[in-house]
């Protein structure tokens, strides 16, 4: 311990930058450009740029979603004609057009970061008059933060469709993560929801640029993408096949899903909104592939004949299809344990560690290890003893 006065003296001598100005921000602009990113998702603020730390959620909105980043558009002016988007040129409900300047945006980000409201910046944008100018400004914002203000927080930059390879490279050098939204599962679905974007050249080609420019020291949190679920009538299977391609061929770190919800004034205003559970079930499928390492052939059994998922846990559907008999947690290999509904990677690891010391003798022991017994019981037998079947459980 030192005295408070000595700490004050040391701080005065400090050569680090002091806090920047925060005043003069237009509340309407802040709100409008913030609203423009409400449906964009970035669940991670993890960056191995410094000490690896788990992501932190600084607040949650009443919809239960985490607010950990200052998520905003650079401008809401856009020349594209995406039929689901309120900022699109073909939206009849006109809102006032706003733009930030790089300095303004950097100052707001710094103020919120220093006061511990956010972990970093998530910067997206409308296309403005042309993508290149807007992309340049977005990169400039990131440059100001990193180089002028020595900002070490998280930065996620959206790559605008049609951006040049040079701009993408600059963005990648400054950001922790970049992403370009696929929005649709295929070129034909894209042409239905947006006539002004070319799926192959504006989006897929830019993703390949990112993939090719990614090296070990660049872009620590990788590239991601996002899809609108159900805007163009695509099936879950079509979406999932596209996502598998993205993981295998493009090397995206994560795919995000956003259930289509009709917005006032857009050409899709009268289309039916998609239930949120559809988005949730797609996330579960995604999880089975990425975290549980299920094979695509196994996972595909969760789709019905029309290629849609039902509102039920896909892992349960797959277990019923593939598991021939109950699994003994005392002898089953890790991979087999993972296939039991109610057992996740962490609880499977605990089971393996526990049984090295002593055999598992009761369901209560499994429950204490994090297994969700009600779901898992029909698929388990403990020391040859089984007390629940799926049929009994359903009854």
């Amino acid at each position: 311990m030192v005295t408070l006065e000595k700490i004050a003296h040391l701080a005065e001598e400090c050569r680090f930058d002091t806090m920047g100005p925060t005043g003069g921000v237009n509340a309407e602009k802040l709100s409008t450009l913030g609203e423009g990113t409400r449906h964009d998702v970035c669940a991670s603020t993890f960056s191995p740029r410094e000490i690896p730390l788990p992501g932190i959620c600084h607040a949650f909105t009443q919809d239960g979603r985490c607010v950990s980043l200052f998520k905003t558009l650079y401008t809401n002016h856009c020349t594209h004609q995406c039929s689901y988007c309120t900022n699109a040129a073909n939206c009849s409900r006109k809102v006032r057009a706003f733009s930030y300047t790089p300095e303004e945006l950097a100052n707001i980000t710094l103020s919120l970061y220093r006061s511990n409201y956010i972990e970093g910046l998530f910067l997206s944008s409308g296309a403005g008059r042309d993508e290149d100018t807007v992309m340049e400004k977005m990169v400039e914002t990131a440059r100001l933060l990193r180089q002028k203000h020595a900002f070490s927080g998280y930065i996620h930059l959206k790559v605008l469709p049609g951006s040049t390879r040079a701009h993408i490279q600059e963005a990648m050098a400054l950001a922790d993560r970049v992403s370009i939204n696929l929005e649709a599962a295929s070129a034909s679905h894209m042409s239905e929801i947006c006539a002004t974007k070319n799926y192959e050249s504006d989006i897929l080609q830019r993703q390949r640029y990112i993939r090719d420019l990614t090296t070990k020291n660049v872009l620590p949190a990788g590239q991601t993408t996002q899809l609108v679920v159900g805007a163009a009538g695509e099936s879950d299977e079509e979406i999932f096949k596209r996502v598998l391609y993205e993981y295998k061929e493009i090397g995206v770190r994560r795919a995000y899903y956003s259930a289509f919800s009709p917005q006032r004034g857009t050409p899709f205003e009268n289309r039916e909104g998609q239930p949120l559970w559809r988005e949730h079930r797609l996330y579960q499928m995604d999880w089975l592939f990425r975290v549980y390492h299920f094979q695509p052939g196994e996972i595909s059994h969760a789709f019905n004949e029309n290629g849609f998922l039902s509102n039920a846990d896909p892992k349960m559907a797959i277990a019923r299809e593939f598991m021939d008999g109950p699994v003994d947690p005392n002898t089953a290999p890790f991979r087999q344990l993972l296939r039991v509904p109610g057992i996740g990677p962490r609880s499977a690891q605990r089971i393996v560690a526990f049984r090295k010391r002593q055999p598992i003798a009761a369901r209560a022991e499994l429950a204490a290890m994090g297994v969700r017994i009600k779901r898992a019981a029909p698929f388990l037998k403990i020391n040859g003893w089984r007390d629940t079947t799926l049929e009994m459980w359903q009854a």
Partner: protein, 199 residues
């Protein structure tokens, strides 16, 4: 959650931790604590998780206000002995700036400079801030970051996704109060039902 290798440190920060429990825990490995069903070890695990959870939430929920250009301060009333830990976290994040966290009865002060952390532990936060004001000849900053945040926070809410149960699960009132959060709910979109359902 996984029990960390240095779980003894987390355990030592728990308000009910004593030497006997620390000695008992010292004989255990992290992996054992994680899977053991022995009542005493289960209690140790519960205490470690309680500290880890509070540390995580306080790192997220405590808000800092500027006092001049050299000080950031925030209200903070932890249940466990994590004051110094949290204060150090913010000082590393804001190198060169004095961090003061505290409440009516105690305060923690921390400054990270050239990789080294300088600390103090004082009485009530008001008294500590007064002493700093006179030492640094500074005054309260007029910039109101909280207003800026409230406008932005309101803009992020999707009414069609309303899920108050998830909101309350993720932001327990107890933790909001410990971090002195005034933002309890989204103000612009709150309904009478939301307030009535809060209790």
């Amino acid at each position: 959650m996984k029990v960390p290798e240095n779980f003894l440190y987390d355990l030592s920060l728990h308000r009910d931790c004593n030497e006997r429990l620390l000695a008992r825990a010292g004989q255990l490995k992290a992996g054992e604590v994680e899977v053991s069903l022995h009542p005493e070890v289960a209690r140790i695990k519960k205490m470690v998780y309680a500290v880890m959870g509070e540390v995580h939430r306080m790192k997220a929920f405590v808000r800092l206000q500027p006092l001049g250009t050299r000080v950031l301060y925030g209200f903070f009333k932890p249940r466990n002995r994590i004051g110094e830990n949290i204060c150090d976290h913010f000082s590393r994040r804001n190198a060169g700036i004095i961090i003061v966290l505290g409440n009516g009865s105690e305060s923690w002060i921390s400054l990270c400079r050239e990789g080294r952390i300088w600390r103090d532990h004082g009485g009530g936060m008001t008294e500590t801030l007064e002493r700093l004001k006179s030492a640094l000849h500074c005054s309260e900053d007029s910039a109101n970051v909280e207003c800026l945040w409230q406008v932005y926070y309101d803009s992020q809410y999707c009414p069609e996704r309303k899920n108050l149960a998830a909101f309350r699960r993720q932001m327990p009132r107890r933790d909001q109060e410990a971090a002195g959060l005034r933002l309890v709910q989204n103000k612009r979109n709150a309904t009478l039902e939301d307030f009535l359902g809060e209790g």
